[in-house]
Amino acid sequence: MKREYTGNIMYQEQLLEDCYRMVLKTDADLLQQALPGQFVHLRINPLGGPLLRRPFSIHSIDQEQGTLSLLYAVVGQGTRIMAADLPGKTVTLLGPLGTGFPHLPASTGEVVLVGGGLGTAPLLHTASWLQAAGRKTRVILGFPSQDRAMLASDFTQIGATVHITTEDGSEGYHGYPTSLLHKVLLRESVQAVFACGPHAMLENVAKVCGEAGIDAWISMEEKMACGIGACLGCVVRIRDEMGSHYEKACLDGPVFKASEVIFDET
């Protein structure tokens, strides 16, 4: 039987004005199962509100410490409470949930990870996993400007090649991460692209990779209630032979093959 786990907040790190990394001590079961691109469904305040759980990507895992980290932006009630939470507080977790990034067949081509802003969250765990599997990993991280840029060192530390892009050119490549991706795809031998970020960026990833004929998988953020496939709240429209059908972001996703996602709806 699957079950709910508890997470004990060990510490938090403030990375930007509105962005934190929360490190949770939790059950070894959960940590061992966690695949890249999967998420946990957090009950932030078991003694009070908000009512619904909140989905967060697994940002990194430290088996030795028995910890899981989340990278989150403060956007509403739940994340505001999280940001104010003190070490020692307990949350509850369902997870690991969903279908993450695929296990790719062996190849000499590199895997390019593209993260937009907070969309970087699941990519650190993903990069560690690729590196551990001996895969060449290149990471493109897009931010609006230098003062919003983060995490480059976390990726270099685990051996990935990192590019920062900023929209205003204040750091790294001047432009969107997808335009750098476009250049990388022309230049390098790339087996696949994994991306996470705003819908507009993902749509562009799909387009750029589609044109280059490279397989891409993208992680979709939809509002979720149950997080396990029962409520039908989180559907994503997926192309098929008959036209299209809905799949569940929480169960069939959040990672989908980019070429199959129909973006119009959100």
């Binding site: 699957k2 509100g49 009512l51 149950c226 396990i228 039908l232 559907v235």
Partner: protein, 313 residues
């Protein structure tokens, strides 16, 4: 949870009608539990009192565009739009799985005409493993300018009469809270021959996105559920208990055994947990165990000793 004291029986009222036996008074609410598959990974489905499967329509339905859910203070709005594989799809894809369990399966049916309701009831009559029908009358009647069946006593009575004619399954009419006098509507269901009523379905609500200055939900309004609506649901269960003699399945915001006990005391013979499952995947079983513990602590032998207790001074 199974033992005699927890069992709830909803007798069939008509000649030849079957009765519905629940192992315990906790049913997973329609639309919140899929067909049980997903929650079956977190709990033993055999420990439930019953499963009301997601709302079924004659044909497959895609459901509404996104977003489909909005959180509200201690509640949520949903606008799923009855996404379902259609009655035949359900029978083919889900019933083989559900038949492997002993738990009572209640088919929740939604139609836009009386004929759609009776067609589904007729078809389900012969499906092995179906233990009861829940008639969801909170749908617009396309023959009456979209008036919601549930708001009109005559329409509720008619649907009930027509459905009971074509089935020997116990018939539960699921009432909408969005009416002036829910007792009156319950009486119509009773007069139409319903074996039980269930309430409440979701409360009509909405939310606006102040950034876009548009309703959050594409279909503007959605159904409010969760703890926020509990006081309303309890009041309506109380009112219906005073209005009819048939058993009531109470729901609306139940998260804990304490919540469920309030519903039983207000007049419910059994309860359902909906939104609570999303927060706590073992909610149904936790509630059943809590009711059991309360009964043991207070020396109660049957759930029925609690039903309507708050009406007696």
């Amino acid at each position: 949870m199974k033992h005699k004291g927890l069992q709830v029986v909803i007798p069939g009222r008509r000649e030849g009608a079957r009765s519905l036996t629940l192992d315990n008074p906790v049913i997973a609410a329609s639309g919140t539990f899929g067909s049980g598959r997903e929650y079956g990974e977190y709990l033993d489905l055999n420990q439930l009192g019953g499963i009301a499967v997601k709302g079924l329509t004659p044909e497959p339905r895609e459901g509404n565009p996104l977003p489909r859910i909005v959180e509200t203070p201690m509640g949520m709005l949903n606008s799923i739009g009855l996404q379902n594989p259609g009655l035949e799809g359900f029978i083919k894809e889900e019933m083989p799985f559900l038949r492997t369990y002993e738990t009572a399966v209640i088919a929740n049916i939604s139609g836009n005409t009386v004929a759609e309701f009776t067609a589904m009831a007729t078809r389900l009559e012969s499906v092995p493993g179906i233990h009861g029908l829940e008639v969801n009358v909170s749908c617009p009647n396309i023959h009456r300018g979209g008036e919601v069946f549930a708001t009109n006593p005559e329409m509720v009575q008619t649907i009930t009469e027509e459905v009971v004619k074509v089935t020997t399954l116990p018939v539960i009419v699921k009432l909408s809270p969005n009416v002036t006098d829910i007792g009156l509507i319950a009486q119509s269901a009773e007069a139409g021959g319903a074996d039980a009523v269930s309430l409440i379905n979701t409360v009509l609500g909405m939310a606006i996105d102040i950034k876009t200055r548009q309703p959050v939900l594409k279909r503007v309004m959605g159904g409010l559920s969760g703890p926020a609506v509990k006081p309303i649901a309890l009041r309506q269960v109380w009112q219906v208990y005073q209005a009819v003699k048939i058993p009531i399945i109470g729901m609306g915001g139940i998260m804990t055994a304490e919540d469920a006990l309030e519903f039983l005391m207000a007049g419910a013979a059994a309860v359902s947990v909906g939104t609570g499952n999303f927060v706590n995947p073992t909610a149904c079983i936790d509630v059943a165990e809590g009711i059991n513990a309360y009964m043991e602590k207070h020396g109660l032998h049957r759930v029925s000793e609690l039903t309507g207790a708050a009406h007696k001074q």
